[in-house]
Each structure stands twice: as C-alpha cells, then as structure tokens.
C-alpha cells in the first residue's frame, strides 16, 4: 500500500464532496418514501393475492384514503359473474352531445377535479362523415348544433385489446366478463398501453388526483373507481363496481336522451341483444382488428 499522498487526500475529499452533493440533489425523494408504506412497496400482483391478503390490502387502502383525502370509503373487490359478457351500445341519432355522461363519469370515478378528467370524450362530428379527422373534442357552442352529430368515445373493451398485449408487466388484462382492467398497484407507469390504444381511452395520473373529501364517491372497488395513485394508468371499467352487482353504468344513468344501452351479450332477452339484432351497428376502426364490445348505431 503506498502512503497516502496529498493527491489521494484531495481525491478522497473530492469524492466525499461529490457523494454529499448527490445525496442533497436526491433529497426530495425522502418525501416520496415517507408517503409510501413497505406493504405497498412489496404488494403482489392482483392475481397473486390470496383472499386474506386482499382483505388486508383493502383495509390498508381504506386507511390510506382516510389519511390522505380525509374521506371514509369502502373498497371492495368485486368479481365477475359467471355467464355474463358485457356490451355497450350507443345510438348516435339521439345523442345530443351534452356531455352529461362525461360529467357523471368524472364524479363516479373520483377523477381529479382540477383537470376535469373523464374516461369519455365526446366528439362533435360533421353530418355525413364518419371521418374522425372532421370532428373535434372541444366545443363550447350550444348543442346540438345543426349539421353536426355527436359521438362519445370511451374504452371499447376490445376483445383483442392492444393495450393488454403491450403491457410489459401484465398490469392490465381482460377479465372473464370482457372488461379490461388495470391493477393500479402493479402498473409501472410506462404508458406503453396509452400509446397502443387506438381510441384514446387510457389516462395517466400525471400528478396525484385532488378531490375534496366531501366529493369523494365512497362506494369503491379495487379494480374500479378507487382513487388512483400518482404515476399509473387508468381507464373506463364499465363501472364494474356497479354493473357486476346488477346496476347500470353511471354514464348511462346520466344520459338525458336514452342514447345508451348496456347489458349482457349472452342474455338473448336483453335490450343490447335486440339492438344488435335489429339495428345497423358498426364499431370504430374495425380495420384494426381490435373487436370492440362498444357498438354504435343510427336509427334508420
């Protein structure tokens, strides 16, 4: 070992200084770590949680919501029912573009208030054209406007969902009733699914959602409308916390014109089956082979 020279001493000093500076630069991360529990960090994928684990996770999530948002909520894990395949249909002849559905979605799903987020985007389209290039999503004039029709777009719950294929960690998948869901505690926030979705149906939490405690919808489910963490992707889940218990999606209940039809595609007596059998139905971007479960139709 050579004796410690002046040069070595200076180098050691420099290295210490550098390391200290890095510690300073990264200091904000300690806030981040504080807000996160060890259980959250090591939590397993949804499909790997036993019933017991799930109960613990739900309790923890409820406690976190109370602590961070001041809201008492109940979070359940609602499973798909047997013999049910959900489908949605929308009558473009009666939709007036009022965006009541988008507003209901915003509230039902505990979306961030500041960004006015919603899973639904209503396109104002030129009559006679199905080309989205001749539409716009932002319009402030009175509706319905002559010469226009309105096309709400939300997750099409594709039967062949590109968003699911691209996810590197299986944080998003198709459930057996056809609903494509996201495990908000498994998603790494790469946004590949957002790039892959042809319908602009996915939303990323660019920041922590802000909602006043009194506006939080307390009826929540793990894969549905619970308040999402920052840095993960979310999407329309056909209000599975309602529909899997026999109720209707919030957007449908809010629609003043009855443009929306929701139901079980396997039930031959359902209204949605009647629409599919008797109307001229089409799906968006059929050529991409995504096989949507969201159907559009016009009255003749």
């Amino acid at each position: 070992m050579p004796p410690i020279s002046r040069r070595t001493a200076i180098k050691a000093f420099g290295a210490t200084l550098g390391a200290a500076a890095f510690a300073r630069a990264l200091a904000p991360l300690s806030n981040y770590q504080e807000g996160m529990s060890a259980e959250e960090f090591i939590q397993n994928h949804y499909k790997e949680l036993s019933d017991e684990d799930m109960l613990k996770v739900l309790k923890r999530l409820e406690a976190e919501t109370l602590k961070e948002y001041g809201a008492e909520v109940s979070i359940k894990d609602v499973k798909p029912m047997d013999g049910v395949q959900f489908g949605y249909a929308l009558n473009l002849s009666v939709c007036i573009g009022c965006r009541k559905c988008a507003e209901a979605c915003h509230k039902e799903n505990n979306h961030d208030r500041a960004t006015n987020n919603s899973y639904i985007r209503v396109m104002e389209m030129k009559q006679g054209s199905m080309d989205l290039e001749h539409g716009r999503a932002i319009y402030e004039d009175a509706v319905p406007e002559p010469g226009k029709y309105y096309m709400p777009v939300q997750c099409q719950q594709c039967d062949n969902p590109p968003c699911v294929h691209v996810c590197p960690v299986e944080a998003t998948w198709k459930e057996k009733d056809g609903i494509v869901v996201v495990d908000y505690n498994w998603c790494i926030g790469c946004r590949y699914c957002e790039a892959a979705c042809p319908y602009h149906a996915r939303r990323f939490n660019w920041a922590r959602p802000e909602i006043p405690a009194e506006e939080v919808n307390p009826v929540q489910a793990y894969l549905a409308n619970r308040i999402r963490p920052q840095g993960v992707v979310e999407k329309c889940h056909f209000c599975l916390h309602r529909t899997r218990e026999g109720r209707l999606p919030a957007c449908l209940e809010a629609c003043p014109t009855g443009a929306r039809v929701f139901g079980n595609l396997l039930d031959p007596n359902s209204e949605i089956r009647w629409v599919l059998a008797n109307k001229r139905v089409f799906v968006l971007k059929e050529e991409l082979g995504t096989h949507p479960r969201f159907f559009y139709y016009f009255d003749e």
Partner: protein, 409 residues
C-alpha cells in the same frame, strides 16, 4: 494460469482499473467535475419529478412519450452502431481496426446504460421497476415488445461488457486471449446489435393504431441511421483519443468507418425518401402525422423547424462525407460527423416519436414541447453516459498501450 493466481491477479486488475479511472491530469478532473455538476442538475430534477409527478414534464395523455423515449430510441441506435467496428475487425480481419475495436464496444456499454436510464426516467413509478425483473415480477413475455427490448438491451450490455472486460484483463496479464472465451461472443454481438434496434423499432411499428409508425421499413430505417450515428461518434472519439492520450494508431480505422458512413448516410436518406413517397403519394390515414411533421397541420407546426433542420443536416453531412476532402482533412471529417450525429439525433428522436402522437388517435392535435425538467434530466443522463465512457476509456487505454501490466510483487 490456475484459479488461485486469478484470485490474486483479478483484484489487482480491478485495483489498477480503479486507480486509472480516478487518476489524471487537471483537465481530466475539470472534465469529471463538469460532468458531475450536470449529473447533479439531472438527479435533482428527477427527484422532483418522482415526488411531484410526471406533470412536471410537457407530456400529456395525447403525447404520452416525449424527450426521454426519443433519446432512448436514438441511443439504442448508437449502441448498435458500435458494431460497425466489430464487423471489419473480426469478420474481415482488419488488423488496424482490431487494435481499436474495444473503443466501440465500450461505447455500446455506455450507451446502453444511458438507454436504461432514460427508460427509468420515463417510468411513472420507478419504485416498481422490480415488477419487470423475471422471477420477482410478472414479465409479459413473449407478448409485449417492451419486455423483449429489456431482455435484448440487457443482454447486449452483458455481451459487450464481457468481451471488453475479458480482452482487457488478458492484455493486463500480458497473455494472448483465448478465442474460445470471446470469439463466440463477438459473433453473437453482431447479430445481437441488429436485434436491439430491430426490437426497438418493433416497439413502435407493432402499434396498429399509430399509422405514422405502423410501417415495415421502420426497422431497416432504424438500422440505417444507427450505422450512421455510431461510426460518426466513434470517428470523433478516435481523433480525440489520438490527440489526448498515448494511444497512437493510424488513419486506417477512421477511413474504414468513413467508408461505412458514405454508404449508410445515403441509405438513410434513401429510406426516408421511400417512406415519404408512400405516405404522400398514397395519402390516407398515414398522411396527417407526416403533414404535421413536415409542413404543419391546422396551424400547428411545432416540429417543422426541427425536422427540416434534421434533413438539412443529414444532406449537408452526406455531401461533406462524400467529398474527397473528407479523406484528407480531419477537421472537415469531424465537422461532418458532428453534423451527422445531430441530424440523426433529431430525426430518430423527436422527429420519430412525437408525430406518432400527433394527431392523436381521435385526430386531435395537441402539441408537445419538453419542459425544463425534461431537458435537465436529459442533460444529466448524457453527462452520466459521457462519464461512464470516459472512465472506461481511462481504464482501457493504459492497458492497451501496455503501460499497465500485472506485477507480481
């Protein structure tokens, strides 16, 4: 040499490497301090981004990938482009190239670390990166192209680190390397270099809903530009090394790389032209994004100056590289290489990623420009890459010039 001797000499090798990497002239310390300062800026910006969220970036749900993924894509090319030294050195037995090939392999190592850094910077939840580790997480393999990309990038990193490390170690011992321990990896690395950029292209071209990317020549285009930017960077590096260190070598490797670039720079422009022909002559759904990129659409034209700058740079570079002067005037050549490098960085970075999102899938036009935080993180990661590359070269050059050898005292 027996295992016990390795047990002694390998730690020595590491110690010498450590000394070589931390010892140097005043200029070296100044350079490292400068890079450290830039890294600090980047690290701090990243810490804020993690805590406050990706809202600090300029990205939106409409343009959900930006500067980070643009740099990532370009750097995969830079890593793959280094193979343009490996092929002449090993496949064509170009001896002069053989002497310096390690400079390319080390570049690949540094570029790949940067790639992984940019992916990490782009994650909304970097604390969950372990979900991608096989065994611990749930890797969606073989369906997701992103998992393929992670596997091939890490594999390429390991292959190059192994080849370079093995060759340096044997040289340090003063022994002839055993071809069994590196030649198979060299040939593997050639195929692997092609695969990393092909898989990265498939990441985009596999998305049916994004017509701008959904084209079969995306992978060939990626490779062509990789084989332009890689040699460009190496030529300049070789000239700097020749000037600043005791590592002396002839013009041979530089001339070989110039020959490569004279072909690839034209090939790159040709493939771009082929793409543009299909887009603009056919029209249809493909045209809107290209229209936005080259001419602006509905009054929005954020990328137009970028892309025309890139095209101008690439064209000027092609002319400069093809000029006879490029062979004789080294400054001329260096300028041409820098121009090429910047041109490809724009074209295969922002020029490729952003138009994929504009117009959006519902034909909305939401523009993107990177925020200050994104620029800072980018600069920090480039500084990190340059620091890694500098350190690796500092270790390699004394060994390659036989200034550092094993001593058994």
């Amino acid at each position: 040499m027996s295992d016990t001797q390795h047990a002694v000499s390998y730690p020595r090798f590491l110690l010498h490497s450590f000394i070589a990497a931390t010892d140097g002239s005043r200029a070296f310390y100044a350079w490292m301090t400068f890079l450290t300062a830039l890294m600090l800026v980047g690290a701090n910006a990243w810490a804020h981004q993690v805590v406050e969220g990706m809202a600090l970036t300029g990205m939106t749900d409409h343009v959900s990938w930006g500067l980070y993924i643009a740099n990532f894509t370009f750097l995969v090319g830079l890593a793959a482009g280094a193979v343009m030294m490996v092929i002449p050195a090993y496949l064509y037995d170009d001896h002069e190239m053989h002497d310096v090939v390690i400079i390319g392999e080390l570049l690949a190592v540094a570029a790949l670390v940067m790639c992984l850094g940019f992916v990490l910077a782009d994650l909304g939840r970097p604390d969950r990166f372990w979900h991608m580790i096989p065994g611990l997480g749930r890797l969606n393999w073989p369906i997701s192209m992103l998992t393929w990309d992670m596997i091939v990038l890490n594999g390429y990193l390991l292959i190059n680190a192994h080849i370079a490390g093995y060759l340096l170690y044997t040289r340090f011992l003063g022994k002839k390397p055993n071809p069994r321990w590196y030649l198979p990896f060299v040939f593997l690395s050639i195929a692997w270099a092609v695969s990393i950029h092909t898989v990265t292209a498939f990441l985009y071209s596999g998305l049916g809903g994004r017509p701008f990317w959904n084209t079969a020549i995306l992978a060939p285009r990626f490779l062509a530009s990789a084989f332009v930017s890689g040699p460009a960077f190496v030529i300049v590096t070789l000239q700097i090394i020749r000037k600043l260190s005791d590592f002396k070598f002839g013009n041979g490797p530089i001339m070989t790389l110039l020959k490569v670039m004279r072909v690839t720079v034209l090939l790159n422009l040709f493939l771009l032209a082929a793409e543009l022909f299909t887009i603009f002559y056919t029209g249809g759904s493909h045209v809107a994004a290209a229209q936005y990129l080259f001419f602006g659409l509905h009054g929005k034209s954020g990328l137009v100056p970028w892309i025309w700058t890139a095209i101008a740079l690439n064209t000027i570079a092609a002319v400069m590289l093809l000029a006879p002067r490029a062979k004789t005037h080294m400054t001329w050549l260096n300028v041409a290489c820098v121009i090429t490098f910047v041109g490809v960085w724009i074209e295969k970075g922002m020029g490729l990623i952003i138009p994929g999102f504009i117009p959006s899938t519902l034909h909305e036009i939401v523009e993107y420009s990177p925020s200050l935080v994104e620029w800072k993180i980018m600069v920090g990661l480039w500084a990190l890459g340059l620091m890694i590359y500098t350190v690796l070269l500092k270790i390699a050059i004394p060994i390659l010039t036989d200034q550092v050898k094993v001593d058994t005292k």
